[in-house]
């Protein structure tokens, strides 16, 4: 009887201990909890880090080039939970510019707690915002905010969704003698008449779930591969394609860059 009591006490203790321990381990998702999700844009060229200016890269056509500008708008972001629920961020517009380090990290605020398995966004500015009142063109959407690094076409109202500029020996020299290429992708589909539409939606799986909790603010690390601009569904060669400033010509580039994004990993660190 004494042994049974001992076992009973131990069993009860273990049972109690398990309950206490599992309370600490139990991961409760409180729908009222919110935290931020950060998206880091890691711009690369193939397996190399993107460095603006003097670093030389090669595209799939063996053309050597440097990059002087790499900018793109990211908007209409949504995150999908493991249960299929989609959380949308319709009012967040980000302008990622390689030369502006701060812009390489986009922060989404007040993301409801949950396990997120999929990220979706538009490269560019959606058509509704593209024709909206000037009062809605604030922050990165302010057409007067870009200085000399224009991201808005004044002559054909609309934003430049992706800008890639650089220098390559295969490009014919311009008036100043520089062999520069400029690839500007825009075109939201037109306001009063149909025009080319280069808005592209990117949907990416998040392999390691992004777990938003009261005390966890995940950071998604995206790799953005410039090399894919030149090679994908379409082969873009700088020798022949080095000046794009109209939507129809930009379509093959937009089609290519749908493949340039990847969620490489997620940091789910506790705060």
């Amino acid at each position: 009887m004494k042994n049974n009591n001992k076992f009973l006490i131990i069993a009860l203790f273990i049972g109690a201990w398990n309950t206490i321990v599992s309370c600490e381990k139990e991961d409760i998702i409180d729908a009222n909890d919110k935290n931020t999700v950060a998206i880091e844009f890691d711009n690369r060229v193939g397996a190399q880090k993107l460095a603006l200016g003097t670093t030389t890269y090669k595209n799939s056509s063996n053309e050597e080039f440097t990059v002087t500008k790499f900018n793109y708008f990211i908007s209409n972001i949504s995150l999908k939970k493991d249960d299929g629920t989609v959380v949308k961020f319709p009012n967040d517009y980000f302008l990622v510019r390689q030369e502006d380090t701060k812009s390489l990290l986009a922060t989404l605020k007040d993301v409801p707690a949950g396990n997120y398995k999929e990220l979706s966004f538009i490269v560019g500015v959606d058509s509704t915002r593209s024709v909206s009142d000037v009062s809605l063109r604030t922050g990165v959407l302010d057409p007067t905010s870009y200085g000399d690094d224009g991201m808005y076409w004044s002559w054909n109202s609309g934003y430049i969704f992706m800008k890639l500029e650089g220098v390559s020996s295969v490009v014919p020299a311009g008036p100043s003698g520089i062999k520069a290429f400029q690839i500007h992708v825009g075109g939201y589909g037109g306001k009063t008449a149909v025009a080319p539409n280069n808005i592209r939606t990117i949907t990416l799986p998040i392999a390691t779930t992004a777990t938003v909790r009261k005390n966890i603010a995940p950071e998604l690390h995206l790799i953005v591969d410039v090399a894919k601009v030149f090679d994908g569904a379409n082969k873009i060669q700088l020798a022949t394609t080095n000046s794009i400033h109209n939507p129809a010509a930009a379509k093959p580039v937009a089609d290519n860059y749908t493949q340039m994004f990847l969620v490489d990993h997620v940091h789910n660190e506790k705060e």
């Binding site: 000037v134 009062s135 302010d142 007067t144 002559w155 054909n156 025009a195």
Partner: protein, 331 residues
Amino acid sequence: MILVSACSTKEQAEPELLFAPPANFPKPIYDMTKNPITQDGFALGKALFYDPILSRDGTISCGECHRQDFGFTHHGHDISHGIDNLKGIRNSLALQNLAWQPDFFWDGGVGDLDFVPIAPIENPVEMDEKTGNVLEKLRKTTTYPTMFKKAFGTDDITSQRFLKALSQFMLSLVSANSRYDKYVRNEGVSLTTDELAGMNLFKQKCSSCHAGELFSDNSFRNNGLTIQGEKDEGRFRITENVADKYKFKVPSLRNISATKPYMHDGRFFSLDAVLDHYAGGVQNTPNLDEKLKENPQLGIPLSAQEKQQIIAFLQTLTDEEFLTNKRFSEN
């Protein structure tokens, strides 16, 4: 010492009609509720319109290519010369009745009046400036912060306020008091026999495109001009639809006597030349408008007398009040 304060009389506030849609016009397209015109907003917009600070080197203002006495077009220029005497490729369009236009420029590239100013400001052959830089310059003046405060409540000079102020001025440029207008509104003006004959001819032969009281159906058409000079492809530049090559906006014909020369590149220096084109000069270029293919000869058959009568009618579209109204003039 006695301090006498002047009796302050309460002024009879006459509600000044800042934007009065003419009785014979359709409803405006611009949403006036998003940018109601105020006296101070109008004054600020006008100041900006006539201020060459909008250009890189302080030489070109909007008023340079849009002169009131020429119906807010450039004086007699086929194409305009802008900064550094650089030339553009298109004829300066009349700034009148803009609230009734769905889009702007010869190719309709801008669909909202509020965004129009950015185009000439940033065009390298017009003002060659960055709009953001214009705002910086305005902030450093002694006058503009105060004007912005009067118009918008605080002295913050933002792109939204800058553009809306310019719109308030431009929207106010309403032209609806020509002899033609007073005639159709029965305001005691009669037209001559020739003018009336011209009006009837116009209704038959011209109003399918130059329609209604705004004298335009706002469409883009190819009216058979010889492809020459810049070989400007017009609307195609915006829609990139080959069916739109060589199509240009149908402009309003109001104040036509004041706005010569005519067409997108200003190639016709008289109304006679214009009507000679329609009667016998139409070319069968790609996308030529169907309406110009309805007769054995391309174009619109017009006798010499009919041409003169139509021209007489077109001259009734001149609105002297609009062309001389001091309210719109440079101070």
